[in-house]
Structure formats: structure tokens, C-alpha cells
């Protein structure tokens, strides 16, 4: 059981700056994120897209913003739990017991939800029957490529993941590559390699096709794919891989007894507290009258939620507002010399 003053859910820009604010006022915190990397939407959706409305930063990309926020956190030792999703939140006297999908347990008086639009999960195939084969013969990511050796594999998608795996797995397996249009959005070198393998007969390419249905009872036997012009082709296949990127899902947050409005959590504008004492929501996931989904709003919300955390984490101390320019205590925490 990990004891911490505050647990932050979400390692996007808002979660990162909130961690900074907590550390500045002398609280410790840990961060959980379902992605395998830090940065949230900034890293997952638009790492290369420039952002123009961060105060005092005329232009920076999602990746640069993330790196700057991490630089700012350098003086502090913050533990990140990546690839983990918070599943359960339960009241235990004046604390919250929190459990992740990997079984990590936290005990904390404060939970700050900075989860954007929820956790990122792979986009899945449309046909309903696909569910029963999921993680058996239908995969959305690859953990062990050895299971595909000498098998027939049907890969769907037109981006880097689909093409990288088509090229890689074609070394030891028979590959069907299926994509909804003729253009691919992958790196040119991979695209050239793929085309070469198609010519050599190592990859069977089907463009303007999508998955129509899957066949088999216990075991996946084959699939039907449908052309734009409604033509249907049946393919024998042992495995199906889908690479359609990630989607954001609110997920377990919906089950924690929080007051929700559509996919957002309702908060007050003093502490950014939800209807549950000690649970706050900041950034894109919170809503209140006048809410703007801007990164800068998330920073403000995190700063206020951090102050609110102080009361519950240090009930016998009084929080004193200080400036980083003048406070010796804060400078000590930052590890910088006082004048």
C-alpha cells in the first residue's frame, strides 16, 4: 500500500503541472497513467502539432510542451505509474483506497483526476463477433510475435503500425494486408518495403476493403471482407490484427459516484472538488460554468486543487501562500540558492 498526500490520475500537461504545484507547497504525490508514456493527448494525438496559446510560449509542439513540463518537475522526485489504469476508488475513513488494474494500491486523502477525455484504448473492429476472439485470435497490439510464426495473419489498417507489422511478420508468416483506401499514411521507407513484398507475393494486399464478418465457433477460421462496391471476399486466416489508433474512454471514472455531465465531471470553482470530498477534477475532464478546454485553464485548476489538497493532507498545519521569487522554503524545495 503506497501512502501519498495526493494521487494524480493522468500524466498530461494538467496532471504534470498539478504535480509541480503540489510539490511546491510541500506535498508529495504520485501519478498514474494508462498510456505507456508521459504527456497525455499532447503526446498521443498531436506530438508534432504546434500549439500557439500557452502563456509566454509563442509556439511549441505537444512534445515540446511535455518535455518542458518534465524539465520543470526535475527538482522533484515524482513516481509515475505508467501503463496502469485506476480501476477502483473506495472511501476508507478519511482516506481513499485506490486500486489500479495491475493491483497497485494507494491510500491517499486526495485524488486529482486530470484524465482529459478518459483513458486511451485501442479502437476495435466493428463486427460484434470480434469480441469473442479478442486476445485469442484478434489483437489490437502485439506482445509476443512468436505466436504468429508460420500462420496466416490478416492485418487491418493504413498507418505505421499496420505496415510495420505487415513487413515484420511477412518474414515468417503469410500476410493479408487490408485497408479501406488505396493511400497509406505510413513512413515512405516502410511503404516502399511493403510494396516490394506485395510484388514478391509475400503480402497479399486488399485495398478499399473493410472487415465484414468473422467466422468460426471456438476457433477463428476465416473472415469476410467487403469492397467499397459491396463485393465480398472470404479469406482463410489464423489471426486478425487491427491497427486503428487509440480512442479515449471515460472508463471506470464513471463508477466512482461522481456527479457527471456527459463525459465530464462537475466541480466547484474554488477547489475544483467533485461531489466527493477529497476528489478533484482538473483540465479537460472537469466542467463548471464558463469552462474552457484550454491547457492554460488546466494549469489554473490544478494550482487551486493543489491548495485544497493541503487542508486534507496536513489537517493540523496552516497553508501559507508564498511566491517562488521570494520564499526560502520553496527555493529549498526547488534546490535553488536563496539570495
Amino acid at each position: 500500500m503506497i501512502k501519498t498526500d495526493a494521487l494524480i490520475i493522468g500524466a498530461g500537461p494538467t496532471g504534470l503541472f498539478t504535480a509541480h504545484q503540489l510539490k511546491l507547497i510541500g506535498l508529495n504525490c504520485e501519478v498514474v497513467d494508462n498510456l505507456d508514456k508521459i504527456g497525455g493527448q499532447c503526446i498521443e494525438l498531436y506530438p508534432d502539432k504546434p500549439i500557439y496559446d500557452i502563456p509566454a510560449i509563442p509556439e511549441c509542439t505537444g512534445e515540446e510542451l511535455t518535455n518542458n513540463l518534465l524539465d520543470q518537475l526535475k527538482p522533484f522526485n515524482i513516481k509515475f505509474h505508467l501503463n496502469e489504469r485506476v480501476e477502483e476508488v473506495k472511501k476508507n475513513n478519511d482516506k481513499w483506497d485506490v486500486k489500479t488494474n495491475k493491483g497497485t494500491l494507494f491510500s491517499t486523502p486526495n485524488i486529482i483526476i486530470a484524465a482529459g477525455v478518459g483513458s486511451f484504448e485501442p479502437r476495435k473492429f466493428a463486427p460484434k463477433d470480434c469480441e469473442k476472439f479478442e486476445d485469442k485470435s484478434i489483437f489490437y497490439s502485439i506482445k509476443d510475435k512468436n505466436i504468429f510464426k508460420s500462420k496466416i495473419i490478416s492485418i487491418f489498417g493504413g498507418g505505421d503500425s499496420a505496415l510495420d507489422w505487415a513487413v515484420e511478420l511477412s518474414k515468417n508468416s503469410k500476410i493479408n494486408l487490408i485497408h479501406r483506401r488505396e493511400e497509406f499514411r505510413a513512413a515512405k521507407s516502410t511503404l516502399d518495403q511493403m510494396k516490394k513484398l506485395v510484388k514478391e507475393g509475400k503480402i497479399n494486399l486488399f485495398t478499399k476493403y473493410q472487415l465484414k464478418s468473422v467466422k468460426g465457433d471456438e476457433k477463428l477460421e476465416g473472415i469476410d471482407i467487403e469492397h467499397d462496391n459491396k463485393d465480398i471476399k472470404s479469406l482463410k486466416t489464423d489471426f486478425v490484427l487491427g491497427f486503428f489508433g487509440l480512442i479515449m474512454k471515460l472508463g471506470p471514472i464513471a463508477d466512482w459516484g461522481l456527479s457527471l455531465d456527459k463525459k465530464t465531471v462537475t466541480v466547484d470553482t474554488e477547489k475544483f472538488e467533485t461531489n466527493q470530498k477529497g476528489i478533484y477534477a482538473v483540465g479537460d475532464i472537469c466542467n463548471y460554468p464558463g469552462k474552457l478546454k484550454l491547457i492554460l485553464s488546466g494549469f489554473h485548476e490544478g494550482a487551486l486543487a493543489a491548495r485544497a489538497c493541503f487542508k486534507l493532507a496536513r489537517p493540523n498545519e496552516k497553508y501559507r501562500f508564498e511566491f517562488t521569487t521570494s520564499s526560502k522554503t520553496i527555493k529549498d524545495r526547488l534546490g535553488v540558492k536563496s539570495d
Binding site: 494525438l45 498531436y46 502539432k49 498507418g159 483506401r181 499514411r185 473493410q210 480512442i247 479537460d284
Partner: protein, 106 residues
């Protein structure tokens, strides 16, 4: 104001007056039309405002740029009449535009 017709997957139709300059996505969100999620808020980064445009309208729309076509690869059950509604800006020319919503966005 321009009339935009949103047809839910169930067939239920909503005829909405949308202010010119807004996107077809924003028109849906502001009027609580179910079936358009718009998770990323209109930055063409999520493909959850996916709509099917009625064939007679499809060719009258501004062409897709590459980024939109790439995002549509991610959409749920895309067709050749698929568009991202955040990229369709409402003008007088679109009066009466009909868009059909997919069974779900993801």
C-alpha cells in the same frame, strides 16, 4: 442561420438552424444531438465526429485534406461518403445539408 439535418442511426432526424461559420460538429454539440462525440474538440485528432454525407451533397462540399482522410482511417465503419463534421464549416451553400450519424463513434 443555415438548416442542417442530422439523422441519427435509428433514423430519427433533427433539423437544426446552425449559425454560419460554425462547424457541422459544433452545431450538433451545441444542440445536444446524440451520436457525435467530438472528443478532441475539433482539432481533427480523434475521428469521433464522423458522419456520412448524403450522396447528393457529398460532391458539393469542400474537398477533404490529407489529415482528414488519415483520421477517417480510424473512424468506426467509414464509407466513401464519410466526413469529419468538425471540418465542415456551415455556409449558405450548405442549406439543407443532410448528414447521417454512424451507429457509434468508437
Amino acid at each position: 442561420m443555415t438548416k442542417i439535418v442530422y439523422i441519427e442511426h435509428s433514423g430519427k432526424s433533427h433539423s437544426i438552424d446552425v449559425q454560419n461559420g460554425l462547424s457541422v460538429m459544433e452545431g450538433a454539440i451545441q444542440n445536444n444531438i446524440p451520436g457525435i462525440d467530438a472528443d478532441c474538440g475539433g482539432s481533427m485528432a480523434c475521428a469521433t465526429c464522423h458522419v456520412y454525407v448524403k450522396e447528393e451533397w457529398f460532391n458539393k462540399l469542400q474537398k477533404k485534406d490529407d489529415g482528414e482522410e488519415d483520421m477517417l482511417d480510424m473512424a468506426f465503419e467509414p464509407s466513401k461518403f464519410s466526413r469529419l463534421s468538425c471540418q465542415l464549416i456551415v455556409t449558405d451553400e450548405l442549406d439543407g445539408l443532410e448528414v447521417q450519424l454512424p451507429s457509434k463513434q468508437a
